[in-house]
């Protein structure tokens, strides 16, 4: 009996992951609508903040657009985590374990689902941004970089969700980490640039929070154009989180699929 090749396995699992993500509108619609809703409310509500001396732009909408991408990634975490925990709970993971499937193929397949949702989100938020007048200072090339950075962020958070799912095997635990991820988003330069944060301890937390740099990376492309430092830090933080989360997920998968 012939074994399927790695490429074929990855392809099949990726296809399954994507199909499955998009057959759950109850997961996708909030992932698109919520960040947009919050964007709309915040931009209008906080527009006067742009009058603060030192505020980098006179459109709070332009400033806040970056938040949507990161918020979208939180939903990615939820979606990935829920899907993976369902596989554990239904025993589907056991079924896959009994085939010649390689673990790495399963992992890459899962990632495909995360990236597919992430891409739809990134394009939607970008589209809305442009349509409602937030010009992307860095132009079309900048928009592509935004998509790339956004995908990397989604990957990182998606893997966090998958990690929790594999480690605990429980959908409830996945829901439980949502507040923590939310906190990570809030305790950053989400609402104001870091140098305009008055409160010392808050500023310190924001300075150390990788999410601040992810936001600032995207923000810089929208507001300032090509800012090498912001981009480098943004990609480094997003990449770092993604790498650690991926490693953790791989390890958790090895334990979960502990076939001999």
């Amino acid at each position: 009996m012939s074994r399927s090749t790695l490429a074929l396995q990855v392809g099949m699992l990726a296809r399954r992951s994507v199909i499955r993500t998009f057959r759950q509108p109850a997961m996708i619609v909030p992932a698109l609508l919520f960040p947009l809703m919050l964007l709309a409310i915040n931009s209008s509500g906080l527009d006067s903040a742009t009058n603060l001396p030192g505020f980098p732009t006179d459109s709070y909408f332009q400033f806040a657009l970056a938040i949507a991408f990161v918020q979208g990634a939180l939903f990615s975490a939820n979606s990935a985590g829920t899907n993976v925990s369902a596989d554990v709970e239904t025993g589907f993971l056991n079924r896959l374990s009994l085939t010649p499937l390689r673990r790495v193929a399963l992992l890459l397949g899962q990632l495909a689902g995360i990236l597919a949702l992430g891409l739809i989100q990134a394009l939607t938020f970008l589209g809305v941004g442009v349509v409602f007048g937030a010009g992307i200072e860095a132009g079309i090339a900048g928009a592509l970089v935004i998509v790339a950075l956004s995908l990397l962020i989604s990957l990182g958070f998606g893997c966090i969700g998958a990690f929790v799912a594999l480690r605990t095997g429980s959908g409830e635990a996945v829901q439980g980490i949502f507040p923590l991820l939310f906190a990570a988003l809030f305790l950053s330069s989400m609402a104001l640039p870091r140098d305009l944060i008055e409160n010392d301890w808050f500023q310190t937390v924001a300075d150390w929070n990788p999410v601040s740099y992810m936001l600032e990376g995207i923000r810089s492309l929208v507001i300032s154009g090509w800012d090498g430092e912001a981009l480098a830090l943004g990609f480094a933080c997003a990449g770092g989180v993604a790498l650690i989360a991926l490693a953790a997920t791989t390890s958790a998968l090895r334990t979960r699929m502990a076939r001999t």
């Binding site: 509500g45 906080l46 903040a49 603060l52 809030f186 104001l192």
Partner: protein, 258 residues
Amino acid sequence: MSRSGFISVALAVGRRNVHNYFTNPAMIVPGLLFPMFFFTAFAGGLSRVDSVPGFDYPAGYTAFVYGFVLLQASAFGGIFTGFSIARDFESGFSRRLMLAASRRSGIIAGYWIAAITRAMFNILVITVVALVAGLEIAGGPLDLVGLYTLALLVNLGAVLFGSGVAMRLRTMQAGPAMQVPAFLVLFLAPVWVPYDLLVGWVHAAATVNPTTLVLEAGRGLIAGDPTKVLPAFAAALGVAAVSVLWARGGLRSAERAA
């Protein structure tokens, strides 16, 4: 006879729900978590905003945010009780309640007892946290009585709204149907800056939103500078009155289905 039936039913339902709440961390945490996040993130991170020209709130930004968070905790204390009601319907427990209760409107009153208890607990915790974080309340005792009464009126409106939804839908899927309107009502208002500094469509929405009145009155009471207190109470009572009708309709719908 019917009066004591109402009270005994209400107390029984209330006691059970309060007991469930305090013995179940999964129920306590969400109601506390989101207001606290908000408070921390915005009092901490956005405080510079009070330097914006036109922002004159004498009590400081921490108090300004506290005003909103107080409202949020009260409202969501009611909404989350609505979740509990939905869960009871889904599990079938409500059917038992409705069969056993001599006066069914007592059941709603019972849930309100639970909601108000939850709200008071949440408000207490959040207020302590805010005080530790540097909140300065300039208002006198009468102002505070007014402030917290207003908060509890909001809680009443919220739980009645939630119970009306829960009793009509009778499933946990009712969650979003309660959360989304509550969220919109809370946020289409002067959340981060005073009403005068709002622009665009949010300004328009806030103009017709009763939340705006309640928020401004609440903040005034915190600052010891009461403003629009009577209109705010009127708005809150009005919402509560409409919600009573909504809840009664929901009870009737549930009775028909039971």
